[in-house]
């Protein structure tokens, strides 16, 4: 009996230690972070719109310059309501007091300044594919934006999603950098598009289905093949060159959609994509052309 008890205690301690080890927040090696003040705010504006920061961090329904006020907003999902934090330049409530190292760790490792895991609703599993330089430029740009006072309420999810440490397991399984879609060799515009789509643009976070009934990572075998709408009714469209996707659209038509919001039939953009399209309309034309080239070049996923 005594021996059984000792074994049980030992097993529990071991399991706790193992869980702790596996779920430990892991930070970026210093060599993978750009020099502290190397960022360029002017260049960072492009990354800001490519990354869609305002779509989750500005107030719901914000228009014009209010989209640069990054005080955070709620995001309702089946797991509960996430609160995107204040990432304005406010030194107290926002990230005005952060160093680039803090920002890069949040963006590319999902670890906040105090060393806690961030929920993957923040798409660091895409941002991990960004260059160090772009992360630094984006940080420099955000520092030039208005300071917004006030913090949104803490994210409160139901058990077991409220155990932040558990996110460490998710990261072990799904946080991975590197190219995703197979592209034909020699297609330079598609390669540039790959960076925008698989990195800052984080298109796959909504357009690719997730494993484990939505809990897991992106099912890269069905990359951009369309998925359930995380915010409720309906589906996020398949944007691969498939019949059930946008195979019938020319590269020029994809570009026009990203610039104006009109489909080839003059239907219009809707839902959460409205903000995304308005962000992408602010990019240089060649970026939209690169995204279009990529979307024409990736493998078709039929539904």
């Amino acid at each position: 009996m005594r021996r059984l008890l000792i074994s049980l205690v030992a097993l529990t301690l071991f399991a706790t230690w193992l869980f702790g080890l596996l779920t430990m927040p892991r930070r970026l090696p210093a060599a993978e972070i750009a020099a502290e003040t190397s960022g360029d705010a002017a260049r960072g504006a492009r990354i800001f719109w490519a990354g869609g920061c305002a779509s989750c961090h500005a107030a719901v329904g914000a228009k014009g310059d209010d989209r640069l006020r990054l005080g955070g907003r709620p995001l309702a999902t089946p797991f509960g309501t996430f609160q995107s934090p204040n990432i304005s330049a406010d030194p107290v409530d926002g990230i005005g007091g952060w160093r680039l190292e803090d920002f890069a760790n949040a963006m590319q490792r999902g670890v906040d300044r105090t060393g806690n895991h961030l929920y993957p609703a923040f798409p660091y599993s895409s941002y991990v594919n960004m260059t160090q330089g772009d992360v630094a430029d984006l940080f420099a740009f955000i520092k030039t934006l208005p300071r917004v006072a006030g913090r949104p309420p803490e994210t409160r999810l139901a058990f077991p999603y409220n155990i932040r440490r558990g996110i460490g397991l998710w990261k072990l399984l799904y946080l991975d950098s590197g190219p995703i879609a197979a592209l034909p060799a020699g297609n330079a515009p598609a390669q540039r598009g790959r960076y925008l789509v698989e990195g800052p643009g984080h298109c796959g976070q909504c357009h690719t289905p997730r494993t484990l009934g939505g809990l897991g990572g992106l099912d890269t075998a069905r990359w951009l093949g369309g998925a359930a709408n995380p915010e409720g009714k309906g589906r996020i469209p398949n944007i691969t060159p498939a019949r059930s996707g946008i195979g019938a659209w020319s590269a020029g038509e994809i570009e026009t959609y990203l610039e104006t919001g009109f489909t080839p039939d003059y239907d219009s953009v809707g839902g959460s994509m409205v903000e995304v399209q308005q962000n992408l309309a602010k990019l240089p034309k060649e970026d939209r052309a690169a995204i279009a080239a990529y979307l024409k070049a990736i493998p078709a996923v039929e539904n």
């Binding site: 369309g226 709408n229 409720g232 009714k233 309906g234 589906r235 996020i236 469209p237 398949n238 059930s244 919001g261 009109f262 039939d265 003059y266 239907d267 219009s268 953009v269 809707g270 839902g271 409205v274 903000e275 399209q277 539904n303």
Partner: protein
Amino acid sequence: MRMTALLLAATMTIAATAPALAADPIAARQAIMKQNGKDTKALVGYLKGETPYDAAAVAALFTSMNAGAKAFGTHFPPTSKTGGKTEAAPAIWEKPAEFKAAVAKFQADTGAAAAAKPASLDAMKPLFGQVTANCKSCHESFRVKEQ
């Protein structure tokens, strides 16, 4: 007795003010949206200079959109929330005042564009922008893609 009379009067008032329901409201509203797409496409032809500017034809296109806009809001009875490949968002019935306001704005903007009868391409451009801004702003909250 008095109660019955009141009820009867109330019913008659509702019957008199309720718009005529289409037999298939989902098909009816989808047809209006399809026509909006066609009209927009034709207007873009003028914008891009692919079609020589024709003031009468442009006014007719805006008038067609306005006619659709006027009928559109009547095709959303509570019985038409699902079915027929509808992409109508639940928000239409959850936030009826906002939806009504969005439809009213589309009616007003298309009505103003039709009444303006723009004589030149330059006069037409801002009206086109004003009218088509409604597509996105309404679809953002009130349409969900099903495929």
